[in-house]
Symmetry: C2
Subunit: 214 residues, 2 copies
Amino acid sequence: MFARRASFATVFVMGLREQKKAETRAALSWAAVRLTVERGFGNVKVEDIAEAAGVSPRTFNNYFSSKGEAIVARHLDRGLRIAEALREGPEGPLWEAITRSVLAQFEPDAEAAAHPVADADRWTAGVRMMVSEPALQGEMLRAGAIAEAEIAAAVADRTGTDLQQDLYPHLVASAVVAAINTAIAHHLRTDPPVPVSRLLADALPRVAAGLSTP
Amino acid sequence: MFARRASFATVFVMGLREQKKAETRAALSWAAVRLTVERGFGNVKVEDIAEAAGVSPRTFNNYFSSKGEAIVARHLDRGLRIAEALREGPEGPLWEAITRSVLAQFEPDAEAAAHPVADADRWTAGVRMMVSEPALQGEMLRAGAIAEAEIAAAVADRTGTDLQQDLYPHLVASAVVAAINTAIAHHLRTDPPVPVSRLLADALPRVAAGLSTP
DNA sequence: GCGCAAACATGCGCGCCACGCAAGTTTCCG
DNA sequence: CGGAAACTTGCGTGGCGCGCATGTTTGCGC
């Protein structure tokens, strides 16, 4: 879709157009998150986000159809990467592949290092405020659901089940997403925060128990 | 909370005030669903819903803070009834109680008989349109999440686990809600529709397998 | 190189929506 | 029966999502 030419290995080259687009999208999403964490959802206007990203207010809606969508974009992308990893990963037992694909996206993030946070406690408090915002909860869960559909498709491929007819791939995908959501929520609930990867390493095998490949 | 006086058995008597409130709420929610199914989400104005329910537009927002919330209200209520049933139900193995509580809410609905549908196929098509509306997907999932919190609390009570410290009750609740969501989605996907209760009877034991009481 | 077509950013404007505020009205309870 | 509390309603406001038209940038074939 957004891969114009593939050189050796998995390196993709974008045209200048798509490069700029990706940058703008990332800038908008990042600005949306930062401002929301700092000020609270209700105190951030679309205008502010656009300004922080260096584009016009109208352009914001060319990338995201709502404030919430922008804030949740990175969450959505992470979910989609899980599905992608599941598709492209090596053969092997289903739940082994799932566990690997999921955990890979919750390692200490390289991208997180690109946006260092000055006051960690203040940041965490802001994030807690953010995720307790009703409008964002729905958006967050919806992002998970979109990723869930992709994961279900990947599971169907791997197991030879039918997306239309069988409940199995959907059940697996929803269990995986549920485990992820629960782990994240628990991570934000605990003090000091328990690493998400540890929680997932505990949760995934448990939900897997009754969902072995049919 | 809304039980003013309890006569014998489980019959609750409301004051005139709460009676009217419940009726208005139900009328608004039902009108919201009906109009959305008939015309599509984007072609229904809050004004229309209020008019259909016989109240002023402003009053709508005294009951629901958005159109989506009104549409999803019955879904939310059903989820909350599951949690309530789980709390008040008889002792016994956890997953037995869960299965009973969930399935009880997905029996051929007595309330559904109160709103007979003339053209069943047209209605089903409208419902499919409705659930594919992005804004409503988020709202729907959020309703599930609210119920999930109540279910988690009920599970913690039954199992003696700690909501704050243990992942277990949250994991169980999220698995249950995930199974319900998946079953409903599959019910809407299949033609002819497979009963939700049948799908749940299949799905719940599977997610239960790895989540036995600790 | 070069020019054209497609993609994109932006300004403008419209309709809708969530909600605060300040009446007016109904219900509750002593 | 009278006052307090709860509820409905009208009005006004700020913000949002998006369609449309216009100017600008990018990509691609020749």
